[in-house]
């Protein structure tokens, strides 16, 4: 409740600052300053002509598809670098290095390989998220208490049983936070990918706002990008996290 009031006050202050800066003191030119009213108007317009929903839908679909591929690749690499000492020693440092690359750095590569296509965007998303997921997976498996494995081994567990019935459930809480972080990387990477192409989506609508010198549209899309990314985080990942933790009495 108090955060809602804070939020409303923030918007009021924003509107007041806009009014003061443009109509009273004439410091800013109106087309470089967004205003709450302007953003709302643009929101209603884009909602009415359907382009906003289409952009959100397209971006979400691409984000989820790319994220899904990134999760598969990330889990696979993560388990592999954890399991094989050789890869742990030689491949992991490289992945750690690649992981620090901002996802925009993959854009030139993706355009040269895939052109200005959806596949190019997916490539950026996958590259942006897969490596962080791999590192998180490796760490999650490393943090499994040794006693869990020892107990299972002395009860006759095979390697496969050890992974499926002990290591995987044991590292699930940490794995889910890794996947959650992976999602935020994927979502950011998606935007770096989308701003470069012309296929309809949030990133492309953002750039269109710039091209039309429509600062309110730019602001609107930024807000929507934040809201959609955060919604997935709160509605999906935080729920799963809480459920796992409370089931184990860790909450």
């Amino acid at each position: 409740m108090s955060s809602l009031i804070f939020f409303l006050v923030l918007i009021l202050v924003w509107q007041a600052a806009y009014w003061l800066g443009i109509d009273v003191l004439h410091i800013f030119r109106p087309y470089v300053m967004p205003s709450p009213i302007g953003v709302c108007t643009r929101f209603l317009e884009l909602l009415q002509n359907g382009s906003l929903l289409k952009a959100v839908g397209n971006s979400l679909l691409r984000g989820i598809a790319g994220y899904f591929i990134a999760v598969c690749i990330g889990l696979l690499i993560g388990v592999a670098i954890n399991h094989f000492r050789y890869l742990q020693k030689n491949l992991k440092p490289i992945i750690l290095g690649i992981q620090t690359l901002p996802s925009v750095c993959w854009v030139p590569f993706s355009i040269l390989w895939f052109g200005l296509s959806t596949r190019a965007i997916l490539f950026v998303v996958v590259m942006g998220a897969a490596f962080s997921i791999a590192i998180a997976t490796d760490n999650a498996i490393k943090n499994v208490q040794p006693i869990y494995k020892k107990a299972a081994l002395t009860m006759g567990a095979t390697q496969k049983q050890l992974y499926l019935q002990v290591i995987f459930p044991a590292c699930l809480p940490e794995l889910v936070s890794g996947l959650k972080q992976g999602w935020s990387f994927a979502w950011r990477a998606l935007m770096s990918g989308e701003v470069m192409t012309t296929s309809i989506g949030l990133g492309q609508t953002l750039i269109m706002g710039r091209d039309l010198a429509d600062i309110n549209q730019v602001m609107l899309i930024m807000i929507i990008i934040i809201i959609v990314g955060a919604m997935i985080d709160k509605v999906i990942f935080s729920k799963i996290e809480r459920k796992i933790l409370s089931q184990r009495g860790l909450l």
């Binding site: 006693i147 869990y148 081994l153 002395t154 009860m155 019935q165 044991a170 699930l172 089931q247 184990r248």
Partner: protein
Amino acid sequence: MPLLLNDIEMKFHDDQRAVLSHINFEVKDGEFICIVGQSGCGKSTLLNIIAGLIKPTSGVISLDGRPVEGPGADRVVMFQEHGLYPWLNVIENVKFGMKLAGLSKEEQRERAEYYLKLVHLEEYKEYPIHKISGGMRQRTALARALAMDSKILLMDEPFSALDKQTSNKLRAELQQVWMETHKTILFITHSVEEAVYLGDRVVVLSPNKGEIFKIHDIGIPRPRYVYTQDFVELRHQILEEVKGEE
């Protein structure tokens, strides 16, 4: 004669002295054998070697005539920390090992319920692990280990993380369980009282050399009580040996 230890020696580092050396003994079928020794004398190391979790520097262990190589379900271990899985409830934990072994659902349930009853936990079988007490967790771990019906059950100070009262209660229950089941058990403890209370034989490890100092036959009839004269005398004698002040 299920378990045979033949001249076990263990060095963690080549340049250091042996943690264990010249360890020779056997565990007979249906026998309850206890190993006592001071902290750091190599008890857990010995148990881990028998369990197959670590390899001895030299020496051979065999179970029913077959050499031990790596861990296996014929030598289930119950550890000091219970090692129960927090994502499973009490009965699912007890079934875990049987599930690994591929037993039928029906048999898993039957055995799990039988052993949960034996450790007085039948009413708690649906509880999550974090909602039962430390003593109940160790009982669950005991039920899980017993339900595996392994050739030998290895126990590494299973009650020492509990308070004195609970630990005394659990060891009385273990004695009861053993009198009913006559499982072959190798039990490690630093408490001489516990060893004399539970063991058919007690193996005393010397404090620093990592060797067997003496093996006692405990002839006291069961159920045993810690205040009888023969118990007190034997306990006193072994305590002196463990401390190394003969």
